[in-house]
């Protein structure tokens, strides 16, 4: 298997050329926000399986793990493609995903508070996951600012499609959201680890 490698100095040169020379953002070292984002992603990763486990134990079995929501981008990617991503893509894809996830987690939280208000543990875990996702968004924005990359605008990924779903659909989307939250967290850890290694020097 061939792995594409990127020399950090070439990226830095490129960034220097692309960024405005007097930009204050570019003068900030990206290492610190990357490190902070990486730490947060690692912390999130420790709790994703617990969230999914709580969700499943409360809602009963679902079958196919390949259930997907069209409003949520999938975290899976071909390794070669993923590895070849430039910094902008590497940050903007999870940025968009976590933006969508924060909205979906809020939706699931609403669903669950409606389904079973007497389940405080799941509701607390969902709320905590949403807040951490928002925190990671902020950290990623700081990295993008430090690297002089444009921050993707906030979008309403759910729109009106969220309403009128059946109980089964709501259960399923809760399952998909909690699962995708885990997948995207795993991916963010990998992305940030790569960036951390790149900008640690």
């Amino acid at each position: 298997m061939m792995l594409l490698t990127h020399h950090p100095s070439s990226h830095l040169c490129l960034l220097t050329l692309l960024s405005p020379p007097l930009s204050s953002a570019a003068s900030i070292s990206p290492a610190e926000p990357i490190s902070q984002a990486y730490s947060l992603a690692l912390y999130m990763q420790k709790n994703t399986s617990a969230l999914l486990r709580t969700y499943m134990s409360d809602k009963g079995p679902f079958s196919d793990p390949e259930l997907q929501l069209s409003s949520l981008p999938p975290a899976t990617a071909f390794f070669k493609t993923w590895h070849a991503l430039d910094d902008g893509e590497r940050l903007s894809l999870p940025q968009r995903a976590f933006l969508a996830l924060t909205q979906h987690l809020q939706l699931v939280e609403d669903d669950q508070s409606d389904l079973n208000p007497g389940s405080p543990i799941l509701l607390a875990q969902l709320g905590a996951a949403r807040l951490r996702a928002q925190g990671l968004l902020g950290n990623m924005a700081a990295i993008m600012t430090a690297l002089g990359l444009p921050i993707p605008p906030e979008e309403d990924t759910l729109g009106l499609a969220a309403f009128g779903a059946s109980a089964f659909e709501r259960k399923c989307r809760g399952y998909v959201v909690t699962q995708e939250y885990g997948h995207w967290t795993d991916r963010a850890v990998r992305d940030l680890a790569l960036l951390k290694a790149k900008y640690s020097a």
Binding site: D58, K59, G60, P61, F62, S63, D64, E66, L67, D114, L115, N116, S166, A167, F168, R170, K171, C172
Partner: protein, 981 residues
């Protein structure tokens, strides 16, 4: 009569004509066919809703009609339901009717048609059914929207145990669709190529978030679509239990019930069941906000009877319970208050309380409970508003808890809650004398009495015991008595009394007063009665003791013992037994297996003097011995040995030692007499001998073989078994002749020693006899003569005075030191400083006498340093022929020849290897007798004894190099009578 007949006929004709008219009218308008049939659906309820009208009805007329409805599924010919619906139909009325389908309406197209018939008493038979209306098709599949798989019903609410039909619609018949209920696949019935239905019978309640059912459409292994539903299964609503209402204060009725299972479901599909209280006399209704209680306000003082209905309701079911009661019969009082105690003393107190007033002239029944000392007393009392009760027969210094509850005395319904308070009675003087016993030990001139007493029980102490007074009265001298005050909680004291009779009283005191005295008398006569100790067997429950009654009057018996043998003070115990009892069982948890307990039984005379009756000793449970004796092997002979273990104590064992087992191992297969074969725990065989007497602590093992190897092991045994297994001790019997040798050798050694002692004692005599002292030439006067001439290197000697004897040539390698023994030491020193001396030694062989032989040394001028360094040293015996050679040796050549010759002779005489010195010719000194005669001719010129040259022949030329040993061995060449200088 005729008039009546005419009237009757006319009336009949009139009625007939009217009926005929009506029939004609209906006949004209029939059939009354249902028209404008419209069918709508309710997916949530899975119902078809029909509405229609009936044409041709007379204006403002009502008719009872029957409508027959037919419902087909999928196709019109597949009629699945037919039923009649009877109703009264008005002119221009729109009729409604609903039908609920077990199959979700989304899964199949339904067809409905209807026909009718008049079923009214106003119209006689026959009636005819109208024609069927046209089929009305009902289909909701058009509203599915995009997708290839759909599952119904969505989010349906059903009750646990009901039957449910679910179905899916697959738009692609090539897809393989599998459906799962909570992860387990279910199998259904295909209604058409697109639709399959699943009948779920008696669905269970799984969780309040619903049961998950989903279907997956796939082609091959590729999942095309997944769709699912949640079936909300509610628990069956239960009827409220234990519904009752009661009044606390005639203002509010408090109704309670047990609601049973909560039927709430998630996602607001069904909230918890609601409860409504309905009172039929007043017609009032109240929705209860709590699920298990509700308060009803009493508004009308006049209403005493109430009829309540409690209705529990959820989305699926309604249940109700009813109670009818009189308000005055349901009075549940509030708990009493202001509970107090007055005039509390040692044995009684007055308890007071108050009750919340209900109505005037109301009588209350109150119940009092008194808890104290693990007991409970209950009293009932009838009161008005203020309650009071006299509590008597209380125990002093005791904490009590008293509580009270009340109820309506006229119509008892229920006790109120308890109200209580604690109180403590005052102390009183101790009611009983302490139980006292003693240990008396005799000492010269004294009794040492250790008094023990047991603390008074709480029942008898009547308060906290502060101290004990011990009064000692001398019965022989009544005027003298002593008082010892011993503070609690001590339970013993030691008194040293003289040999008089004493009465000792022990009195317990608390803050209020003193207890009766406990009296014990110590007799002036010592307890010198010898009592045989009897062995008894205990059990796990204790010791069963019995004794012979004491002659004469006794007031009782006392058995004492010690729980802990280590600490008498803390472990001393006793038990009082009545005068008519001569047996008792001593049982206590303190008894331990393997510990010997000694019991003494005393009789108490009327004068309270104790007399030791019996002693008993035993174990509650005997154990096997904890250790084995240390065995000594005595008198080991070739045929026997003796084993002894005199030091083994049989008393300090965890059981009565009954004897010993002696195990003996030998190579012989047969056991010795008295021994029997035994198998050890490790499976090996040996011989065993049993000693039944525990005091027999020695055993002679005989009939053994000489020079044989034996192993033995001795272990004591009790009734519980043997001592611990240990290693065998090894013994080897000696040789049979060794003893004989000892018998011979020992006298021999003794004799030798005796001779040696004798020799030592007579050494002077022997010495004088055998070894007279040899004169030392250095101490002779000739030395002074030499000094006088100031030539230390020349010794002039008159040869005629000497008898030529021998010359010792000292030739020593540099650095080698010659070892001389005894008297030769001084010579050695001389030799070291004067290495070139030749020593002229007399030989005893030339003397028939045994007198001392003088020794004279000459300087050897012919020696060179090389010769002297050759380190040869020795004494060579000179041939007795030497004097005859004297004349030939005056010239150096002759001397050399003579030396060579003598040397060769010497070699011929002396065994090679033993000699280390060469020979030198000598002249015998003519001197005899006393050495003191030497200085007689000190300055006489020598005649022929002056040596001009002597040749020393180095030994190493012909012999092996001299060594220290060889020089020593050279000494052995000398005759025993030779002397060294």
């Amino acid at each position: 009569m005729a008039l009546f007949a005419i009237f009757q006929t006319t009336s009949f004709l009139t009625l007939l004509s009217l009926r005929t008219y009506q029939s004609e009218v209906l006949a004209e308008r029939l059939p009354l066919t249902p028209v404008s049939l419209k069918v709508s659906t309710n997916s949530t309820r899975q119902s078809l809703h029909l509405q229609w009208t009936v044409h041709n009805l007379p204006y403002h007329q009502e008719l009872k009609m029957v409508f027959q409805i037919q419902i087909s599924r999928i196709e019109t010919s597949n009629v699945i339901w037919v039923g009649n619906y009877s109703t009264t139909v008005k002119w221009n009325q729109v009729l409604h009717w609903s039908w609920e389908s077990e199959l979700p309406l989304e899964c199949a197209t339904h067809f409905v048609r209807i026909k009718s018939v008049v079923d009214d008493a106003k119209f006689p038979e026959p009636n005819f059914w109208s024609n069927w209306s046209s089929w009305e098709e009902v289909s909701v599949q058009d509203s599915f929207g995009p997708g290839i798989l759909f599952v119904f019903p969505k989010d349906k609410l059903v009750e646990e145990g009901s039957n449910v039909t679910i179905c899916y619609v697959s738009r692609n018949i090539q897809n393989n669709v599998s459906c799962y209920l909570e992860g387990k696949q279910i199998h259904g019935e295909q209604l058409d190529p697109h639709v399959t239905a699943f009948n779920l019978n008696s669905v269970p309640f799984i969780r309040n978030k619903g049961t998950n059912i989903y279907c997956e459409a796939s082609q091959g292994n590729v999942s095309e679509d997944i769709k699912g539903i949640v079936l909300f299964v509610s628990k069956v609503l239960e009827e409220p239990k234990d519904f009752s209402c009661e009044a606390e204060d005639f203002k509010t009725l408090h109704c309670t019930w047990d609601p049973g299972t909560d039927t709430a479901l998630g996602w607001s599909k069904q909230p918890s069941q609601s409860y409504t209280l309905f009172e039929s006399f007043s017609g009032e209704k109240k929705l209860c906000t709590h699920k298990n209680w509700c308060n009803w306000q009493i508004t009308q003082d006049s209403q005493e009877t109430y009829n309540f209905t409690l209705i529990a309701e959820n989305y699926l079911r309604k249940r109700s319970v009813n109670i009818l009661f009189n308000l005055t019969h349901r009075v549940y009082l509030m708990n009493p208050f202001s509970v107090n105690f007055e005039n509390v003393n040692a044995t009684n107190a007055i308890m007071t309380w108050k009750v919340h007033s209900m109505r005037n002239n109301f009588t209350y029944l109150c119940q009092i409970e008194l808890h104290g000392e693990g007991k409970m007393m209950q009293y009932n009392v009838s009161i008005k508003v203020n309650g009071e009760y006299f509590l008597s027969e209380l125990e002093p210094a005791t904490e009590y808890m008293a509580r009270v509850r009340c109820a309506d005395a006229s119509h008892f319904w229920k006790w109120s809650e308890w109200s209580g308070q604690n109180f403590t009675t005052l102390e009183a003087a101790p009611s009983e004398a302490p139980d006292v016993w003693r240990i008396v030990s005799l000492e010269p001139g004294n009794h040492t009495v250790t008094l023990f007493w047991k603390p008074l029980s709480k029942l008898h102490a009547n308060g906290k015991i502060l101290f004990y007074n011990v009064v000692v009265e001398n019965l022989d001298k009544p005027s003298s008595s002593e008082l010892h005050s011993i503070p609690a909680p001590a339970n013993s004291t030691k008194l040293i009394l003289d040999r008089c009779s004493y009465q000792i009283c022990v009195i317990a005191n608390n803050s209020v007063g003193a207890s009766p005295a406990s009296v014990i008398v110590i007799s002036a006569d010592p307890e010198n009665k010898e009592v045989e100790e009897e062995r008894i067997a205990g059990t796990e429950g204790g010791f069963s003791l019995s004794w012979k009654p004491q002659p004469g009057d006794v007031i009782g018996y006392v058995v004492d013992w010690c729980d802990h043998t280590q600490d008498v003070l803390s472990g001393f115990q006793w038990k009082n037994v009545g005068p008519n009892t001569t047996s008792t069982v001593i049982s206590t948890d303190a008894f331990r297996p393997g510990v010997r307990y000694d019991f003494r039984i005393y009789g108490l005379s009327t004068k309270r003097i104790a007399c030791l009756l019996e002693k008993k000793t035993g174990y509650s449970q005997e154990l096997a011995p904890s250790d084995n004796p240390h065995v000594l092997v005595d008198t080991l002979t070739s045929h026997s040995f003796t084993l002894s273990w005199k030091d083994y104590s049989t008393e300090s064992q965890p059981g009565f030692i009954q004897g010993y087992h002696v195990y003996l191992k030998s190579k012989a297969r047969q056991c010795h007499p008295r021994f029997e074969k035994a198998v050890l725990s490790d499976g090996s065989e040996c011989c065993k001998y049993k000693i039944d007497n525990p005091e027999e602590k020695a055993l002679i093992v005989d009939n053994l073989k000489p020079e044989s190897f034996y192993e033995f092991f001795i272990t004591p045994f009790t009734s519980a078994g043997e001592g611990p297994s240990a290693t065998f001790t090894k013994v080897t019997t000696p040789d049979e002749h060794s003893s004989m040798l000892i018998h011979i050798l020992l006298p021999m050694v003794f004799c030798v020693l005796l001779i040696m002692v004798m020799c030592y004692l007579k050494s002077q005599w022997i010495k004088e006899t055998c070894y007279p002292d040899i004169p030392d030439p250095y101490k002779s006067s000739i030395l002074s003569l030499i000094k006088f001439k100031e030539n230390p290197h020349l010794i002039i000697m008159n040869v005629s005075d000497c008898i030529p004897d021998a010359i010792e040539v000292v030739s020593k390698p540099e650095g080698t030191k010659i070892q001389f023994l005894g008297t030769r030491k001084s010579l050695t020193e001389t030799e070291l400083t004067k290495p070139n001396y030749l020593y002229l030694l007399p030989t005893e062989k030339n003397h028939s006498g045994s007198g001392p032989v003088p020794c004279i040394c000459f300087e050897n001028l012919t020696y060179n340093q090389a010769a002297s360094d050759s380190a040869s040293c020795g004494h060579v015996p000179v041939s007795p022929k030497a004097p005859s050679m004297l004349g030939l040796m005056t010239s150096p050549e002759n001397v050399l020849k003579a030396l060579e010759k003598n040397y060769m002779n010497s070699l011929g005489e002396i065994p090679a290897g033993e000699t280390s010195l060469n020979y030198v010719s000598q002249l015998a000194s003519p001197m005899f007798g006393d050495k003191d005669s030497l200085p007689t001719n000190p300055v006489e010129p020598p005649h022929s004894s002056e040596y001009k040259m002597q040749m020393a022949v180095s030994l190493h030329l012909a012999l092996p190099p001299p060594t220290e040993n060889s020089s020593l061995s050279s000494i052995t060449l000398l005759d025993p009578g030779e002397r060294y200088c």
